[in-house]
Symmetry: D2
Subunit: 127 residues, 4 copies
Amino acid sequence: MKYTFETEVRGYELDSYGHLNNAIYINYTEQARWEILKNAGLLESFLSNNLLLVVIETNIRYIRELKLFDNVKVETQISFDAPYLIFQHNILNSTANVKAAKAEVKTLLIDRERVPQDIPEKLLAII
Amino acid sequence: MKYTFETEVRGYELDSYGHLNNAIYINYTEQARWEILKNAGLLESFLSNNLLLVVIETNIRYIRELKLFDNVKVETQISFDAPYLIFQHNILNSTANVKAAKAEVKTLLIDRERVPQDIPEKLLAII
Amino acid sequence: MKYTFETEVRGYELDSYGHLNNAIYINYTEQARWEILKNAGLLESFLSNNLLLVVIETNIRYIRELKLFDNVKVETQISFDAPYLIFQHNILNSTANVKAAKAEVKTLLIDRERVPQDIPEKLLAII
Amino acid sequence: MKYTFETEVRGYELDSYGHLNNAIYINYTEQARWEILKNAGLLESFLSNNLLLVVIETNIRYIRELKLFDNVKVETQISFDAPYLIFQHNILNSTANVKAAKAEVKTLLIDRERVPQDIPEKLLAII
């Protein structure tokens, strides 16, 4: 399944060149993952059990710059490569209809003591 | 007239207490002003003439915390107290239906050489 | 007593005009307060007791812009106006030797249940 | 040659788990590169000629979390793989004396019209 997070580039997210700052793309992918957890009904249980989907590795290719008020879609697909959950994020500029970036984010579910946890059924079910 | 900017609190905007960081409220009010400029059709001319609505003073009262996925409305009213444009921003938590913050932001229109400029008619027209 | 937090304006803190973004000044004052808590030996007890110095109101006047690699000093004085702790922050551009901004931040010490707490002696002692 | 940028984890850089947010590591590596450009005496000419070292790809591995007031060193080595400048950043927690992250950042020097430019001698000289 594919999940979509939509936003619009904001004035305070621009760098001194008038482009979206590189780190904000990373923020967008993070928010895409928060929304997926929320939609899977996992937010409460993660928070109350101190579970954290920790990022192990991010590989992002920047393809085209994003500018003020560009409409952005982050389309995400998830795969499970035990014990890792892998998120493939396509960041699209839907104003210009071009791909802006592409990120692969490798995550691991851990608790407060950093002990890896099994991925809940609810999350595996939506992959 | 009243202008509304809407957003939702994102995971990466939270502080270590799980609340929206104080500085992000300021970001939200900035984006509300960018949208007003855009809607007034002033974005292009401001950028091409290097005009900048510079903030002289911000007074913000934090009333209630905002949390992950709270829906936020920033309602803005503008007044002109020559040479200043004053923005009154009400930041509402529309999920909990309470006021989250209230900010008054005093701005001045300047060019690259920091010379104050007249407020364009298009902007005065929407006050 | 006066407390000083020093930093240098970073490339990723600039806005599209090449100036330090308005919200980052607020971040700098927040960090000045974290350092004061740390120097007063209060960080551990605040964290373990879930105590939070919550900001009730910020009033900031922006006097001069800050640019890439400008050296910044945030000089802070604290006063106690029960039940509030008031922080007066002067933000100085020590590269250009001018005042860049001036902020007054009104805070209240609360616990997780938002119950106001007495200001610890260690903190009153350094005012 | 190896270049070092030092900082300390700030309160407003923490996420809701009390760890340094993933995107801030990216900010730190960006600032390391700004400092390298400055030290090579290239900042002025880059700004006046609208030259931009644009990031094409970032690969970052997160090894250990960083916490409030941890001392951080970003050690950077540069290589030239025409037409790309490649930055290898090691992010060290010098408080705990462990490696916190490791990033490879591939950049390209372009002008405002996005035309790739030759890497200046001054920059090649410091590799």
